[in-house]
């Protein structure tokens, strides 16, 4: 998961970002499924299926199509260079590891590592939302943050509501993928907006 997070930061092209995100979601699905099996919690399979189906396949495909159809920026707009972003990313994941080890020595080994990883993924998603300007990549950053959260939630043994939250998040994300789509269209066809025509007519009356 961490590797794919770094891959997300590194990518220069929107299409590649989407692929890296799909890879991350599939990894998450595998991790959740493994937790479901090892803790024998069948409800987590639903979370895994959502991660795989929706975030691993459907949303990346939909975004690919949106990007292709609207022909928006092939190149990702960045606030800082890739090198700096990667260095900050490394520092953040180190911080996450150190913080969790310091704070939670009492947790069982596996849970602790998973929590540290999850925190690192969350922070890297956060970083990605900061260093990328484009709406599509910001949404990907958010979804990657959310992947980290699901990982953390499944890592917390027996935590209820994980499935519900992941469903809610998925609906939310689907909404915002749709919103990006709409925003982009609005941006392009702003001048022939039907509402603008209405308003002009209203003024003349």
């Amino acid at each position: 998961m961490l590797v794919t997070s770094f891959a997300l930061l590194y990518q220069q092209r929107v299409a590649a970002v989407l692929n890296a995100f799909a890879a991350q979601s599939v990894t998450l699905a595998l991790a959740v499924a493994w937790t479901a099996w090892s803790e024998s919690r069948p409800d987590l399979y639903i979370t895994a299926a959502i991660a795989f189906g929706l975030k691993g396949v459907v949303i990346p495909l939909a975004l690919h199509r949106t990007v292709a159809r609207l022909g928006i920026h092939r190149e990702v707009e960045k606030v800082v260079g890739v090198g700096i972003a990667l260095l900050v990313g490394l520092a953040l994941s180190g911080l996450a590891q150190a913080l969790i080890v310091k704070v939670a020595p009492g947790l069982p080994g596996l849970g602790r590592d998973q929590l540290a990883l999850a925190l690192a993924v969350v922070l890297l998603g956060f970083l990605m939302m900061i260093v990328r300007r484009n709406a599509v990549t910001q949404v990907v950053g958010f979804m990657s943050m959310e992947n980290g959260l699901i990982l953390a939630a499944t890592g917390a043994q027996g935590m209820p509501l994980v499935v519900e939250v992941s469903v809610a998040f998925s609906v939310l994300i689907a909404l915002f993928v749709f919103a990006v789509f709409v925003f982009r269209i609005r941006e392009r066809f702003d001048t022939i907006d039907i509402e603008a025509l209405d308003r002009m007519r209203g003024d003349r009356r």
Binding site: F142, M145, L149, A152, P160, V165, G202
Partner: protein, 478 residues
């Protein structure tokens, strides 16, 4: 038999489902008012009824204060928007299908806020608050202008970061509670977590509180995290600005305070008090200075909300029965006053066709009655006696002065700076030569007057029942 705490959640959600199906916007607006009145009645019933702690719901003195304010302002805002929207249709800013959506979303938002308030489960509370936030994101973008969409996008980005960090904090609280309370639902139940706090790992609680403070603090609008708030207030429909300032910020504050209560139960953990004092003061003073540079009247009052939320967080950070009492009172007064200001601003914007200070000068000439109402509301929020805001601000400052004389200077300074800005802008708006068009205002001013009367009444005479109730709530806060 349905319980009152179920009613405050179920009525709005049910109404939302019905409103989606109502095609006429006039009927929709009326149904919206009726449903909000029913929710308000349920809120009163909750207030008078018994205090219960269940597996999923909790009703105590503390959250009843919030539910009561929530349902009352929800009802008056529904009244206001019913009289406001006719104008929006006329000017073509909104079309009937959007209004249908608007009414349904309004009810869903009220339901989600009430859910967050009565939930006895940190996960459920998170879900309620996030639902309410996301619905307001959609509402802020309702006008579909480029500015509105940009504001909604900014709000979404910051709010979702807040969502994520608060959720991470929630997971950490669960992890802290798990060794004590066992796996599953108990480790997410407020009442159980609160009682078990002393046995939890302080280090995890510290980390959790930092995440929760940043996460929910984003929604309270605390200073470094406030960037979404002015845009969202300025670009969304005015009734939504009223609800955002008057209610949603309170609900976020409620979540933060519940976690503060929890963490205070473990003496070895970090004391949330000083952190909250610092953040509150930074917000207060920063917002007070920002007031001077605003050109847009809704943006101006959005910064004023940041200022007052800062003051409340400061008061709750001080802690103790008296400061908590003052903080709660200030919250109630601020909700009522600020929403009445936004009602007035809505009428002003309709009357003059602009939200810019430069375009709305000379209100006393063109709309004398509106000018009086607006002036009274602004004087009330500025903290002049005999309005209730004066009483609560005075109480906050005197309790601080009694305990930390030097510390009291800072909020007093911030309030004075803000006071100057308010008077300056009030003078601009009321007096001077009118410019631009002056339309007739056909909206009802009943909600605005009602709120002002309540604030005035509270300033002159606070009924002992109310005082006793707020005191009990303040004691729970610790």
């Amino acid at each position: 038999m349905i319980e009152a705490y179920q009613a405050v959640v179920v009525i709005p959600y049910g109404a939302a489902l019905v409103l989606v199906a109502v095609p006429s916007y006039r009927v929709g607006a009326q149904a919206n008012v009726v449903a909000s009145l029913a929710t308000f009645a349920a809120g009163l019933w909750l207030m008078l009824g018994s205090r219960t702690v269940g597996d999923y719901a909790i009703v105590d003195e503390f959250n009843i204060v919030f539910v009561a304010i929530n349902t009352l302002v929800g009802f008056t805002t529904a009244l206001f928007s019913a009289s406001y929207i006719g104008h929006e249709i006329e000017t073509g800013r909104l079309s009937p299908p959007f209004l249908r959506f608007y009414h349904a979303m309004f009810q869903a938002m009220m339901g989600s806020m009430n859910l967050a308030l009565v939930a006895n489960n940190i996960g459920l509370m998170w879900v309620g608050l996030e639902l309410a936030t996301l619905i307001t994101v959609v509402m802020v973008g309702l006008y579909r202008t480029p500015q509105a969409i940009e504001a909604a996008w900014k709000y979404f980005i910051l709010a979702s970061v807040g969502i994520s960090l608060a959720f991470f904090g929630t997971i950490l609280i669960y992890l802290a509670g798990q060794p004590v309370l066992g796996e599953g639902v108990p480790a997410m139940t407020w009442s159980l977590l609160h009682d078990a706090a002393a046995a939890m790992d302080p280090a995890i609680l510290d980390l959790a509180f930092i995440f929760l403070l940043i996460g929910y603090g984003t929604k309270v609008g605390l200073a470094p995290l406030h960037a979404w708030l002015p845009d969202a207030h300025a670009e969304g429909p005015t009734p939504i600005s009223a609800v955002l300032s008057g209610l949603l910020l309170n609900v976020a504050l409620y979540a933060l305070l519940r976690f503060k209560m929890l963490i205070a139960g473990q003496p070895a953990a970090l004391d949330p008090g000083p952190v909250m004092i610092v953040m509150g003061l930074v917000s207060l003073i920063f917002a007070a200075f920002m007031l001077y540079q605003r050109r847009d009247i809704k943006r101006f009052f959005a910064y004023s909300s940041i200022e007052h939320m800062g003051l409340m967080v400061f008061a709750f950070g001080m802690g103790g029965p008296l400061a908590n009492f003052a903080g709660l009172l200030h919250m109630a007064m601020h909700s009522l006053t600020k929403s009445s200001i936004f009602f007035a601003v809505g009428h002003i914007a309709q009357a003059r066709g602009s939200q810019r200070f430069a375009d709305i000068r000379g209100l006393s000439v063109t709309h004398p009655r509106l000018a009086v109402g607006f002036a009274l509301a602004v004087l009330a929020i500025a903290g002049l006696p005999p309005f209730g805001v004066f009483a609560s601000e005075f109480l906050i400052l005197t309790t601080t002065f009694a305990r930390e004389p030097w510390l009291a200077l800072l909020p007093a300074f911030g309030l004075l700076v803000g006071f100057g800005a308010l008077l300056l802008r009030l003078q601009d708006t009321i007096f001077g030569e009118p410019v631009g068009p002056a339309h007739r205002v056909d909206g009802s001013s009943v909600p605005m007057v009602l709120h002002l009367l309540l604030v005035l009444g509270a300033g002159i005479y606070l009924p002992p029942v109310l005082v006793a109730w707020f005191q009990r709530a303040a004691e729970l806060l610790g």
